[in-house]
């Protein structure tokens, strides 16, 4: 589909994006909810990013393990209860084991509020990313909105992301970040 020409991004938007692009090691703690017409599910989320690699842990609200997953350049591995799974990449691994389709390849950038190439996007008046339609091959029709920005060590970081996918039984993924840490 032809994307409408994007207005050139403002000075502070490009400065902020450059700041985000320089953040390679971070961690977040919060909640993640996954809603589709058939299923609703939420868990505590713990995500540790280390350049290209990340470790994600989902726990129940009483503190027991639900799922943990590690993604590296070469493979992704996952532990659910006592089951262990491996796959070429995290996206296919999660889809195969849980049936959820989560656009994980770019999620580490989106979590920071960083936009990806040839997407359509909108910034707020402070130059912070407000919404994004990624149009990337593995991103499907996901649309993302960003909110609750707070300054963490001099960097504006979002504390709420909502991903919606109108084509997939209007699936929605909501991420609320309680604590941001730049490592």
């Amino acid at each position: 589909c032809a994307t409408k020409p994007q207005a050139p991004i403002s000075l502070n938007a490009s400065a902020h994006q450059a700041q985000l692009a320089n953040i390679h090691q971070w961690s977040i703690k919060g909640r993640m909810a996954f809603k589709s017409t058939e299923d609703k599910f939420s868990a505590n989320l713990n995500w540790v990013q280390n350049t290209q690699e990340y470790d994600v842990k989902f726990t129940t609200f009483i503190g027991t393990h639900l799922m943990s997953m590690r993604s590296t350049d070469e493979f992704a591995e996952m532990q659910i209860d006592d089951q262990y799974y491996v796959d070429a990449n995290a996206e296919t691994l999660i889809q195969r084991t849980t049936g959820w389709h989560i656009p994980l390849s770019h999620l580490p950038q989106w979590i920071k509020g960083q936009f990806t190439e040839n997407a359509t996007y909108r910034f707020d008046e402070r130059g912070l990313l407000q919404s994004l339609s990624p149009h990337c091959t593995s991103c499907g029709e996901w649309q993302i909105t960003f909110g609750q920005y707070q300054k963490i060590n001099h960097v504006w970081l979002p504390h709420q992301l909502v991903l919606t996918n109108p084509l997939e039984h209007n699936t929605q993924i909501k991420i609320r970040i309680h604590t941001w840490q730049l490592l």
Partner: protein, 185 residues
């Protein structure tokens, strides 16, 4: 055995239990995964109220037959039968004086005020529980799950055997919430 009986006696003396708690959850490598504050109320036998405060609000109500998990983040309540819950929820153990449940655990008493409880069922979610008492007051509960994830609950403002209005254990579906009723399964 002696330790199991001693623990059951201590717990059976708690006809009611109320406290505030702070919780920290650590993974196998002792990384901090989660922190929460909240409050707990127990009315034996088998009624429990468990609430975590913002930012991660959740409420669990066990009314004797069913356990209701109220999750504002997705505006949903999940209901499961209480027997199902006791196996996987260490806090439920405290409210249960059903001997058959306790038979699936081995209890040791490393000191007068500490009980170390191991699950004998190798595919149980909760592998181990440690209960710390200060004389008769339960002040700390540690549990370790099958992935060696450790949760430490420290209790404060502990109030035992004072009356609790049973109405706090009554569940009503909040306005606009979905109900995912898994009691049948």
């Amino acid at each position: 055995d002696l330790a199991a009986q001693a623990l059951k006696d201590k717990l059976s003396k708690l006809s009611t239990y109320q406290a505030e708690f702070t919780q920290t959850v650590l993974d196998e490598e002792q990384n901090l995964l989660q922190e929460a504050q909240g409050k707990i109320a127990i009315l034996r036998p088998n009624r429990l109220y468990w609430e975590t405060y913002s930012p991660s609000e959740n409420t669990l109500i066990a009314d004797g037959e069913a356990v209701w998990h109220i999750d504002p983040f997705v505006e949903q309540v999940v209901a499961i039968s209480q027997q199902q819950a006791v196996v996987n929820n260490p806090v439920m153990l405290l409210s249960s004086n059903d001997d058959s449940v306790w038979e699936t655990f081995k209890v040791t008493q490393p000191s007068k005020s500490i009980f170390d409880v191991y699950s004998l069922d190798e595919n149980a979610l909760i592998k181990r529980l440690v209960l710390h008492f200060d004389d008769t007051r339960l002040v700390k509960l540690i549990f370790v799950d099958s992935q060696s994830q450790k949760s430490v609950l420290s209790f404060s403002d502990v109030n035992q055997n004072s009356d609790i209005s049973p109405s706090i254990f009554d569940f009503t579906l909040p306005e606009g919430y979905d109900l995912d009723d898994q009691r049948g399964q």
